[in-house]
Amino acid sequence: MFSYILRRVLQMIPTLAGVILLIFFLFKWFGGDPADIMVGLSATKSQIASIRTQLGLDRPVLEQLWIFVQQIFTFNWGKSWATNEAISDIFATRLPVTLTVMIPILILEVVLSIVAGMAVAYVRGSLADRTVMLISTVALSISFLVYIVVGQYVFAFLLGWFPVQGWSDSLWKNLTTYAPLPVFLAVLVSLAPGTRLYRSFFLDELGHDYVRTARAKGVSENAILFKHVLRNAMIPILTNVATQLPGVFIGSFLIEAFFSMPGLGREVLTAVNRSDYPVIQAVTVYLAALTMVINLVTDVLYKFVDPRVVLK
């Protein structure tokens, strides 16, 4: 196990290097001159000069690359070009906000999709099954934007059940007052694709030979679905959850923008609009690294979910 993890970490290095190089050169060659950008952001001359020295803009490319790499590994990105806030502070304050909303969404989404997927798989082929599938197809054809806009208008503006926007400093208040509407809308949107996907997982498993053996043993249909099939379906479900995990950290910038939540997603959106390079670069590189770690953890978790897996 240990040697497997070590080998995987070694394999991550070229990928991380690739990301670092890509981001560095992308911004170097295709981005504008930082000085011009900062002038646009009404920075003072001395600030611009200090940025130039900090980034080594008068030095050879390789030195600049080295500075970039150092920044990554020491978590020292200096300050945002626009707000002058320390970037590490930005991470520290915005990330919890994002997580407060995204983690409930992920949990609810997975649980509801499992339930809905199993229910539909149970009645497969019936009118109920086909109706649900049709409704989910139509629901999928409407943009997330529309759900948010209409949801916000109807539930907050018209009916006044929830505040239209806002955020507070107390975790409890956030979870009970400000998060519910965005969480509800996001989970609603995810129900359609989730049900379809999980239904296909369950139907796939139901077609396998071991289900026939279970029936031959006299196992009830309920036990087949809840015990045999669900346990096997955990494998593709784990894969699916793992692909969504990195998204939990970046957050939904749509939700954060519309509901005025000071999270990481909205931060990135603002940074892009202002060409605030350090913020964008930092978020990109760290999230890329996080994604790789999540992949590794998932692969190790497979061993517990699927006994056939051999880590080599």
Partner: protein, 352 residues
């Protein structure tokens, strides 16, 4: 093959002919196909300028309601400005320009200006500038569907070629492509989109791609090829050890022949379904891109721009642009999605 020998021998229908026959029996599939074709016809006509050409013209009053809602009688909605009260005072003795008014009025009369009558209601309503929502939504269909189709086509080509090479050869080439794939997929897709957009907008490539639509298409293709790559690569890995490919090797067929003459036709149905799925997801992605300001330029209209405008309009109680764009998009996307499902069923190789 038009050989004399074949003329008197029966020719069996191939995969596509059989699939078409099966599709014909699927009622839902045929209805979806019909709806899709109607939209495609709309797109072509709009592209040729035969439909919705003058979508930019402000033919209605601001926020003109749809026909079926009727005029809004209280003037507050249509920005009617009350005229000044009181009698007109003659100031021509102190007005320095007064002597020339006559001359100018005669000159002006030579030009015909058509002061367009601004309608109070439009078929599907009007937006803030009084533009006809029906024209906008048709023109928007053209832009959104074209973007979706082209982006899906490019993403599919990139993903299929890379997936074929990576899956078939494996080894160092396969590892390299896997590294590229890992780098692309480690970066959150929104950030990747932003980065590509930044590259295209402000870098040296900005001069090349002046038309805004191509920026969107490139962003979507560059970010979206990874899913198809993954699938095609898995298919090639599965097929390259199959006996018919081994048999091809045994008779001496070249690598290129094995990859594209032998294997590709056997997975073309997978690729087609992926293409369709990506058309749908790219049309939806364009909406998000437009919201982010990375979409089509301001002088064009798409379903995305309409929905972005609609967001501000809704709080003022104006819902018709939102409804029109959502309804049109939902109809097309649903029909296309159902068509894809029907196509997938019709192509089901289980019967082979």
């Amino acid at each position: 093959m038009s050989l004399d020998v074949l003329h008197d021998l029966p020719q069996s229908p191939g995969v596509w002919a059989s699939a078409w026959k099966r599709l014909r029996n699927n009622r839902v599939g045929m209805v979806s196909l019909a709806i899709t074709l109607v939209f495609i016809a709309m797109v072509v006509l709009a592209q040729l300028g035969l439909l919705a050409k003058d979508w930019q013209k402000e033919v209605g009053t601001a926020f003109a309601p749809p026909h079926f809602v009727g005029r809004i009688v209280d003037g507050s909605q249509t920005a009617v400005v009350e005229g000044a009260q009181g009698p007109a005072v003659d100031i021509s003795d102190i007005d320095p320009l007064a002597p020339r008014y006559q001359e100018w009025a005669e000159r002006a009369a030579q030009f015909k200006t058509a002061a367009a009558e601004k309608s109070e209601t439009l078929p599907l309503g009007g937006d803030q500038l009084g533009r006809d929502v029906l024209s906008k939504v048709i023109k928007g269909a053209q832009v959104s569907i074209t973007v979706g189709l082209l982006a899906a086509l490019f993403a599919t080509i990139i993903g299929t070629v890379l997936g074929a090479i990576g899956g078939y050869f494996g080894g160092k080439v396969g590892d390299f492509l896997e590294w590229v794939y890992n780098v692309f997929t480690s970066i959150p897709y929104i950030l990747l989109m932003f980065s590509v957009a930044a590259v295209l907008k402000s870098g040296p490539l900005a001069k090349v791609f002046t038309s805004g639509v191509w920026t969107v298409i490139i962003i979507l293709s560059v970010v979206g090829w990874t899913g198809i790559y993954r699938l095609v690569r898995a298919e090639y890995i599965k097929h390259r050890t199959r006996e018919y490919v081994r048999a091809a090797e045994a008779i001496g067929a070249s690598h290129a022949s094995r990859m594209f003459t032998h294997i590709l036709p056997n997975i073309s149905h997978v690729v087609l379904v992926q293409l369709s799925l990506h058309v749908v997801s790219f049309i939806k992605a364009e909406v998000i891109l437009s919201f982010l300001g990375l979409g089509v330029p301001l002088d064009m209209v798409s379903w995305g721009t309409m929905l972005t405008e609609a967001q501000a309009e809704l709080v003022q109680g104006k819902w018709w642009q939102l409804l029109a764009a959502t309804a049109f998009m939902a109809t097309f996307v649903t029909a296309f999605a159902l068509l894809t499902d029907a196509l997938r069923d019709a192509l089901d190789p289980k019967l082979r």
